[in-house]
């Protein structure tokens, strides 16, 4: 098998003291930028690019990609401990991760997140190794209608089985969609909803909104409830980590399903954020037994984390093989690639096997390094929750504002954080779900573009969404996820009513 030989060759390149050192350094730096909300992997990687001018391309990409893996791991830490997502793709982890940590099981939540993240990443790399050629051909099949279908599916999977009242979900979703239209539209080139503020020209940054909604919003709620963190004390014990690892095989179905979703979304540029939301939504629909989602259910952590990381690793494939980055970080790395003199494209695999397979082999090693490093630090991170609120509260405020500022170095964003902090607080009080708003902000603009492009292509006929097998099957799946749960509920209610009548 050709790919296997090439992979072994790749390991030969990746396992040198220098490269191993770069991996550890990259993962550690990534952890730090991942933990700080707003700084994030794309910023971290672009800060590192000038340093890589002195390295050869293989060493450079190993350093940058290791940093990316580290950031993906780090991003879930603050999601779970403080309800502040360090990365856009770890928003879905807050839904069950934070409640679990509040119950005093922060060690368990962190371990679940890190382990499933590691497993997700490994699943992704295995797919890259085996299917490098086939997968990039699959991605070529996606035109505008197919993209819209994928985004529609992500919405449908997540909204279909919402537990909040449908009217409130709709309000939240619509707010998110309106926010996502602010700025210049790609298809028409028109400037929308900026009200004359130049700062809004590039749109409202999703990360800024999330930092406000979750970080500041949560803080305000905590303050109202008497200045203390709910669920302060948690036992900190390395044995807890081991116990949680033994618990993992129980979630094999969720893991495999989420891994597949992540791989799919990574290869056909939907991105890790869409993958984690979709996977969370489908996990919620798939398992009906036990305590409800959103209250600290283990599957609610396993699903988004596995999908997030398998998508993150798979996103490297379209970047290398097609020159299309499916995540912001991959876009920055692609810029680096061109500066080092490499042209991403189908021929890269043939012309630069040392580079490509060195990178793929390094992905195995640095993800394992990553898991070990983060697991070792779990007790330390979990201990953060023991710090009294009077000390950690102001620190969180500072981190939120610094994080929001680093997104695009704009003071206007600081006001946005404040405004959205209040919005988040109000949503919390009035029981409006935040997740649909966040999802709409992430995918709304992309979905709108894809829809608009499809309409231009078809001269306004909706038939384009059912014009070939691929797009129709995704659409049908989406519609099924949207309608079936409600139908089943309705059916169940009818059946229960029958005997009475």
């Amino acid at each position: 098998m050709g790919n296997f030989d090439l992979l072994m060759h790749g390991f030969g390149i990746a396992i040198t003291p220098m490269h191993l050192m770069l991996m550890v350094a990259g993962v550690l730096m990534g952890l730090i930028v991942g933990v700080l909300p707003g700084l994030g992997a794309p910023n971290g990687v672009s800060l590192l690019i000038p340093l890589t001018f002195a390295l050869d391309p293989t060493s450079a990409i190993i350093l940058l990609s290791s940093m990316y893996w580290g950031a993906l791991f780090g991003g879930s830490t603050t999601s779970i401990l403080f309800n502040i997502p360090g990365e856009p793709s770890s928003v879905a982890t807050t839904f069950d991760g934070y409640p679990m940590a509040q119950k005093g099981e922060s060690t368990r939540a962190l371990t679940l997140a890190f382990m499933s993240a590691g497993i997700g990443a490994l699943l992704g790399i295995i797919v890259i190794t085996l299917l490098a050629g086939w997968a990039s051909n699959f991605a070529l099949k996606f035109g505008a209608p197919e993209y819209f279908a994928v985004y529609f599916l992500a919405f449908a999977a997540f909204i279909g089985m919402g537990s909040a009242s449908p009217a409130k979900t709709l309000v939240s979703l619509a707010t998110g969609l309106i926010l996502s239209t602010v700025g210049m539209d790609t298809v028409t080139g028109e400037v929308r909803l900026t009200f004359g503020y130049d700062e809004l020209l590039s749109g409202i940054s999703f990360l800024v909104v999330v930092i406000g909604l979750f970080g500041i919003g949560e803080l305000l709620s905590t303050v109202q409830e008497g200045l203390r963190f709910r669920g302060v004390s948690s036992r900190i014990d390395l044995r807890d980590v081991l116990r949680t690892i033994r618990e993992l095989p129980r979630y094999w179905a969720t893991t495999i399903r989420s891994g597949l979703i992540g791989i799919w979304m990574g290869i056909t540029p939907g991105g890790p954020t869409a993958a984690s939301f979709m996977s969370y939504g489908i996990a919620r629909q798939a398992s009906r037994k036990g305590q409800p989602f959103g209250t600290g259910r283990p599957e609610g952590i396993v699903a988004p984390e596995t999908a997030d990381h398998s998508a993150g690793t798979c996103a490297m494939l379209p970047m290398l093989a097609l020159g299309v980055p499916s995540s912001a970080t991959a876009a920055v790395m692609m810029g680096g690639l061109m500066i080092w003199g490499l042209t991403p494209g189908p021929m890269l695999f043939a012309t630069k096997p040392d580079f490509v397979w060195g990178l793929i082999a390094s992905m195995y090693i640095s993800n394992i390094v990553g898991v070990i490093l983060v697991l070792a630090t779990v007790p330390m991170f979990a201990a953060l929750l023991r710090i009294p609120f009077a000390i950690i509260g102001p620190m969180i405020v500072a981190i939120c504002f610094v994080g929001a500022y680093t997104v695009s170095n704009s003071t206007f964003d600081l006001w946005l954080v404040l405004v959205f902090g209040l919005v988040g607080y109000m949503f919390n009080r009035l029981d409006y779900p935040l997740a649909p708003l966040v999802l709409a902000m992430v995918l709304g603009h992309k979905a709108e573009n894809a829809f608009h492009q499809s309409m231009v292509l078809s001269d306004g006929s909706l038939g384009i969404f059912f014009s070939n097998t691929l797009v129709s099957s995704i659409m049908v799946l989406g519609l099924a996820l949207l309608i079936l749960p409600k139908m089943l509920q309705l059916g169940g209610r009818l059946r229960r009513k029958m005997p009475v009548e």
Binding site: F53, G143, L201, S202, L322, P325, G335, N449, V456
Partner: protein
């Protein structure tokens, strides 16, 4: 106390004045490279290549920070220049969008809020089709569009930007009618073409190079006055020099090229502009820069001063004529 303050002020004044007396240099804050595109795009690579040459060849000692401000087709970066009027530590990297954007969108800046320092390269535009498409040359494509008006799809990057302008120019010159669909960037359009979702695109060489090497797409013609520079064979036995110019292939557009430009905010002293101009000229003569041009198949052209002004005037006039004919100027 007051004496100390006075002494401090005096000392500071002397220190501040000292560099001005010698040769002008940016102050010791890092120099910001403000890029009018997202990370990974053509303009981003342009800026980062210059950054790497400046620091590697020791042309500039200051540390350099690259900021991506690609919002609103790059308008975000130009607005930033306006807000930082007179700040000599900011260089803005763009294309011709600096002076073309205000014509098609209502924006809070004008071209006068920035001053041009230099143009370093001209990026070519080509018409590309999928490798197995029935169109053998540009005339085939135009005839097909005349036979089926509004049915042949041209993909391009952004709306009312260079790509759509070029497609409009082809339509105005030939009388054909295409359907234009905007995507987010050149890379994305390249993949849409390779996947057969659009019939043609007008990508820059670098944006389609990977797909051409793999034999997924092929070029029909290039919008340059003469053929491109000699290169090794890229796909089959074809190199860049084997692509006919559009004019010789029968489409009467002499030249359509995009300058890669560097600007500073308005109201900078002439010495500051001269300092950056000299630095950029050194970059344009370096080995690293020549590598970059070959790799991305762009034509090197160092334009500054009056030459640059004349180029901008000419480019602006001819492009605005296309805008007017399409009714994009909102007049």
């Amino acid at each position: 106390m007051t004496k100390l303050t006075t002494a401090l002020i005096a000392a500071t004044a002397v220190m501040a004045a000292a560099p001005a007396m010698a040769q002008w240099e940016p102050n010791n804050r890092p120099v910001e490279f403000v890029v009018a595109s997202g990370a990974g795009g053509g303009t981003d690579n342009f800026a980062r290549t210059i950054q790497s040459v400046l620091s590697r060849d020791g042309i500039m000692d200051q540390s350099i920070v690259v900021l991506n401000k690609g919002g609103g087709s790059g308008a975000e970066a130009f607005l930033y220049a306006k807000q930082n009027k007179g700040d000599a530590n900011k260089l803005i990297f763009g294309t011709n969008n600096v002076y073309l954007l205000p014509h098609v969108a209502k924006l809070a800046y004008t071209t006068d809020d920035l001053q041009p320092v230099a143009a370093l390269a001209l990026d070519e535009f080509l018409v590309w089709v999928k490798a197995d498409s029935p169109y053998e040359n540009i005339t085939d494509l135009i005839e097909a569009a005349k036979a089926e008006p509004g049915q042949i799809v041209f993909g391009g990057s952004q709306s009312k930007d260079t790509d759509e302008t070029l497609v409009a120019l082809i339509e105005q010159t030939s009388g054909a009618d295409f359907k234009y669909v905007p995507f987010n960037g050149g890379g994305e359009v390249g993949v849409q073409l390779a996947g057969g979702h659009v019939a043609a695109n007008v990508n820059n060489p670098n944006e389609n190079l990977g797909q051409w090497q793999a034999g997924a797409v092929r070029p029909l013609c290039v919008f340059a006055p003469e053929r491109m520079a000699e290169s090794e064979a890229i796909s089959g036995d074809m190199g860049w020099q084997d692509i006919p110019t559009c004019k010789e292939a029968g489409l009467d557009i002499e030249s359509y090229r995009m300058p890669r430009t560097v600007w500073v905010p308005a109201d900078l002293p002439e010495e500051a502009v001269a300092y950056y101009r000299d630095a950029l000229q050194k970059v344009s003569e370096s080995e690293g820069w020549k590598d970059y041009l070959t790799r991305t198949s762009q034509s090197g052209a160092f334009l500054a001063g009056d030459e640059l002004k004349a180029f901008i005037d000419e480019n602006e006039t001819s492009t605005v004529a296309v805008f007017k004919a399409e009714g994009w100027t909102g007049e």
